[in-house]
Symmetry: C2
Subunit: 158 residues, 2 copies
Amino acid sequence: MVTTKEPALRFTEALVRLAHLVQQVFGEVSREHDLTPQQAQLLCLLIDGPVGMTELTRALHLEKSSLTGLVDRAEKRGLVVRTRDSRDRRACLIELSTEGTRIGVLAHEGVARQLDALTRELPEEHRELLTSAIGGLLAEHTIRTGRAQQATAPVITR
Amino acid sequence: MVTTKEPALRFTEALVRLAHLVQQVFGEVSREHDLTPQQAQLLCLLIDGPVGMTELTRALHLEKSSLTGLVDRAEKRGLVVRTRDSRDRRACLIELSTEGTRIGVLAHEGVARQLDALTRELPEEHRELLTSAIGGLLAEHTIRTGRAQQATAPVITR
DNA sequence: TATTGTTATACTCTATAACTATA
DNA sequence: TATAGTTATAGAGTATAACAATA
């Protein structure tokens, strides 16, 4: 086996540019719905149900005070609601409002649709292979860092 | 051909999570060098040589006033220098300082190293397939939007 | 007139440190 | 004491609109 440096560099560059592209798509879709990318990310993360602040900080890789502000602004816009956690009076659960659900689902679908459109040209086998390859990368990262990746909707970290 | 919705969704989710991961890596490396991700991105973009403000706004997808601020702060930190463009007295070229070059290269290498490490487990064929598939996506996006992607170092858009 | 870039302004996002309330 | 979350503060990032200087 030869020490091929070239492909490695090209590959990482491809990864970075892909991330760049996904960010763009995410930003554009967010704008269409008058959301910041961070707000869209929050809404997408809450689609599956209410989540506590601490869990959100882990999912979003934010400090708790940063999250407080993000939730404050989202709440002020009527996108989410703070609910008291019945089992722990210190904690609260963040929940989508009706409007938040509506916009969150739209944003989620918008991102999925656009990315899907970009990949429509790929042969089905390639898509599957890509999916599993990416799954491998994510698993590898989880192993290395000990941190699990979020298991939810299209969501981008800042 | 059956209308398979499932794989499409999984695939786009994989893309989004991959982008997420790359963002994380980029953010961590930036922090190590006491840079914001945006500053790191700027430095990486300038490694190949000086670039004008207008071209930078296109590469970074920023409004010109946002870029003015970004460059201001980077200049204040001694990372970049504004140079007058000799052929157009309205324009200026942004150039890395010695320190900016040093840190920019370190950040670039750091990102490449970490991403490379994550992909070391992948079979070589998969890496090549991934690379070409991503290349296809980028090309598709360029066609659809008419905008070229940047052709430079590991760089993430916010 | 059009283009290049800056300034003024207003938000949003983010982190650190100190704090309150509950466990 | 430890944990969940907020507040205070400061700085960074971003966009819109109005502006200056040059083309």
